[in-house]
């Protein structure tokens, strides 16, 4: 087969970018941009200076650097109001289920971190890109940037059913973009139901790196955890279902009389309820190798988040051969379990207890092996980048206006 021509410049426009950022969407954009640059594409990453939307708006210096992959990283100054009143009060209204009028939605959006220099760059140079990839859907950079050159804009929305997804302020990007890349079929289904006139779309999935090996004993020795445990790896916050998990886990192990510890890893403050203290071990933020070793050592990895557009954690757990237990409220997690023929889903402490018991049974390792096969078949970076390149050729062929 003739090698694929990789002509034309690609622009990636994430809301924030940095090798030290651990969010799923941030890692997805970073690895996709670097992966395509490694395949010979000319790649620009166009972003602001923000590390954290409220606390570190001007964290990175503006300017231009070249990444080891060959991708060019261009940072434009970020701008944010000093009071952030529209953002804070809008978030509060959304959390309370209060509808926001159209005008209030735009005030909420424009009180996000803005990057006017990036907008100007897209006005001046947008037509020089073969494709401009924006994501996630809900940030200012995506809403504003994608309307400059919609005919060559592709959304990588990382969408799920949350209050912000129902704001009309996002309708235009989903309708006018050249195309939308979804990470899973449930994400695409939700978008089809939510956005009338949705642009052409495809499910590309997300890639995960396959570790060369695992050393579960190294994790146990390093953190002093000799007994059986289940693992939560991710941000410790309510939106990820973390607080609910603590209660459900304690209820489950008490009802099922299981000798299990819950090991929690990841960023974020943790306030343990009194009853959970004896059963939870906090190992803080782990590097990638330590996290992978922890997954290989665990009896099961729990994904309690009800809001997922892909769930990288489940893929990393299955690669480690772990038994995965996921919150059934997430259509995406349930979809993965069904497709992989692996893992278990739960709703409430009774079902969680039964799943934890199943994780201790002899068949659990064979279940994890099926999960690993699923990830190797669907979600390695070479497989995902092949899909991306095929879509670029189909939607935005070289030389298209």
């Amino acid at each position: 087969m003739a090698p694929r021509p990789r002509a034309g410049r690609l622009g990636f426009v994430p809301v924030r970018f940095g090798d030290d950022l651990v969010g799923g969407a941030e890692m997805l954009v970073r690895e996709m941009a670097d992966g395509l640059a490694g395949r010979g594409w000319e790649v620009d990453v166009l972003t602001g200076c923000t590390r954290d939307h409220f606390r570190e708006v001007h964290h990175y210096p503006p300017g231009e650097t070249v990444r080891p992959s060959g991708a060019r990283l261009v940072r434009f100054p970020s701008v944010a109001s000093s009071h952030r009143a529209d953002r804070v009060l809008g978030n509060r209204a959304l959390a309370a289920g209060t509808p926001l009028a159209t005008h209030a939605q735009y005030r909420w959006l424009n009180d996000d971190v803005r990057v006017p220099g990036l907008f100007d760059h897209l006005i001046d140079h947008g037509s020089e890109y073969r494709a401009l990839v924006f994501g996630p859907y809900l940030y200012w950079t995506t809403v504003a940037g994608s309307l400059v050159a919609p005919e060559r804009s592709v959304l990588l929305p990382c969408l799920h059913d949350e209050p912000t997804a129902h704001l009309g302020v996002f309708d235009r990007e989903f309708r006018d973009a050249r195309g939308v890349w979804f990470l899973s079929e449930p994400e695409a289904d939700f978008a089809r139901g939510r956005f009338a006139g949705l642009a052409e779309s495809a499910v590309i999935g997300a890639g995960v790196d396959v570790p060369a090996g695992y050393d579960p004993e190294r994790f146990r020795a390093r953190h002093g955890i000799p007994g059986p445990f289940v693992l939560y790896a991710g941000r410790r916050e309510e939106g990820k279902g973390f607080g609910r998990l603590l209660d459900d886990f304690v209820d489950a192990v008490e009802r099922e009389r299981l000798d299990l510890t819950l090991v929690v890893a990841g960023p974020g403050e943790i306030a343990l309820p009194e009853r959970a203290r004896a059963r939870v071990v906090d190992v803080g933020v782990l590097d990638a190798a330590d996290r992978d070793d922890a997954m290989a050592a665990a009896s099961a990895v729990i994904q309690p988040s009800p809001y997922e557009s892909f769930s990288r954690t489940m893929m990393e757990a299955w690669l480690a051969g772990a038994f995965v237990i996921a919150n059934r409220a997430s259509a995406v997690s349930t979809w993965h379990c069904g497709r992989a023929g692996a893992g278990a889903t739960y709703s409430g402490p009774d079902e969680l207890g039964r799943a934890l018991r199943a994780a201790r049974e002899p068949g659990a390792r064979a279940d994890g092996a099926r999960g690993r096969e699923y990830v190797l078949r669907e979600y390695t970076w070479p497989a995902v980048l092949d899909r991306v390149e095929a879509l670029l050729d189909a939607w935005l062929p070289e030389g298209s206006p």
Binding site: V79, T102, H103, R107, F119, L147, V169
Partner: protein, 145 residues
Amino acid sequence: MTRVVVIGPYPPTADPVGDVVLGVVRELRGAGAVVEVVSPEPSAAPYHGDPATWAGATRVARAVRGADRVFWFGAPGDATVAAPLRRALATVPRVEHRLVPPAPADPIAAAGVPRGGWTTRVARLRAGGPTFVRTMADRARRRLP
């Protein structure tokens, strides 16, 4: 090099005039002009200010000073412009008003919700009230024949 200041709604905005302004900015930048946009509310423009208020007019005036040309979208005249901006505009060689048709009726605006600054809106939100704030362009449109 020509320095042009464009005053008007700018994306992302619910106001359809924003797309018109973006088109003009694109043309001007493509022609090599140095373009600065000032919108009545926060947007993709680096500055914002409501020309009908003293503070906003001062901010817009700062951008206008030294410009070779000013495009003004949605304003019927200087009647709604506070003094600092009026004085700054008087120094610009060429000021063009682009009158635009009224935007579709906004039910909240039609309900006569009073305007206010962000502190007022904070108080109003806390009290569970509406948050709509009229912009200069909205008020200007109502004065159009």
